[in-house]
């Protein structure tokens, strides 16, 4: 898959995954890699960028019997950005599906 394309999708995924509650990095990585293949290491630079751009805020929280974990919270700005990305994705997804259906469909002509 095209790298730039995948980057955009990853961005959408981490934003959506934090929509209902704060998550720590490892958790986010696992939730995504359960669904499709990614080089897991690339998620962290992405999280850093989104944090720098103000879409996430982070805090450290103790984990059970270990050093603290870094949690990511979706900011107000991040939520608005996520919503616009989801909207874009839906249009894109529907469009591609339609093209695939029309291209491969066996409707008699």
């Amino acid at each position: 898959m095209n790298a730039q394309f995948k980057k955009g999708i990853l961005e959408l995924c981490v934003l959506v995954l934090t929509a209902k509650g704060d998550k720590y990095g490892y958790e986010l990585v696992q939730m995504i890699s359960e669904k499709f293949f990614i080089a897991e290491g690339t998620v962290y630079p992405l999280l850093r960028r989104l944090t720098k751009e103000g879409y996430f805020s982070t805090y450290l929280k103790e984990s059970t019997g270990g050093p603290p974990r870094k949690y990511y919270t979706l900011t107000e700005e991040g939520r608005a950005y996520m919503e616009s990305l989801v909207c874009e994705w839906n249009t894109f997804y529907e469009g591609v599906n339609l093209i695939v259906k029309e291209g491969l469909g066996d409707h008699a002509e």
């Binding site: 990095g25 080089a39 630079p45 999280l47």
Partner: protein, 182 residues
């Protein structure tokens, strides 16, 4: 395996600021820790993380993107001042005149539609003079026509005012954007 991965990553991040490096390395340490807690081997974790080189490349490209973002420098502040001054002059010379002309026209439109709406009532008050006249029906028609025209003009003026308002807002936003330089 973890050590190998971390030291390779650290080496690749050499030219970033120290604090930045530590921050990034911390994320991956945490990742290893969480993976180990889940019963994965260091080997497995390192493999699914991917090449340290690729990660470093990613980090650096994000870092550069961030750096390239406009930080207000003396130069950009100077530019903003210049743009502001230019905009003020441009607005004074070319925009203010037409703006008031249009605003005046709109006001005139409202005034004349008000007159059209009030005219029938005036006519009503002088009805005792009119009712005797042979062409009193003309008077009634004049009243209805004036009332109708007045209502139409009010609606029209409101629509025009709304357009004008929107245009003004857009133009003001454009001004702000020019000054911010985005």
């Amino acid at each position: 395996m973890q050590n190998k991965f971390m030291s390779e990553l650290k080496e690749q991040l050499q030219d970033l600021p120290k604090a930045e490096q530590q921050d990034i390395l911390y994320d991956y340490e945490e990742h290893f820790r969480s993976g180990l807690e889940e019963g994965k081997t260091e080997e497995e974790i390192a493999v699914s993380l991917g090449q340290p080189q690729a990660i470093a490349r990613e980090v650096k490209s994000e870092f550069r993107v961030k750096e390239a973002k406009p930080v207000p420098s003396a130069d950009s502040v100077g530019k903003a001042i210049l743009v502001t001054v230019a905009l003020v002059f441009f607005n004074l010379i070319f925009i203010i005149g037409p703006f008031f002309a249009i605003a005046g026209t709109l006001l005139g439109l409202f005034a004349s539609s008000l007159a059209l709406l009030l005219f029938p009532f005036g006519l009503l008050f002088s009805w005792h003079q009119l009712s005797g006249a042979p062409d009193w029906l003309m008077g009634v028609f004049a009243m209805l026509t004036s009332l109708g025209a007045g209502v139409l003009m009010v609606v029209g003026s409101i629509v025009l005012t709304r357009w004008f308002y929107r245009l003004t807002i857009k133009y003001l936003q454009f001004n702000v954007m020019m000054i911010k330089g985005s």
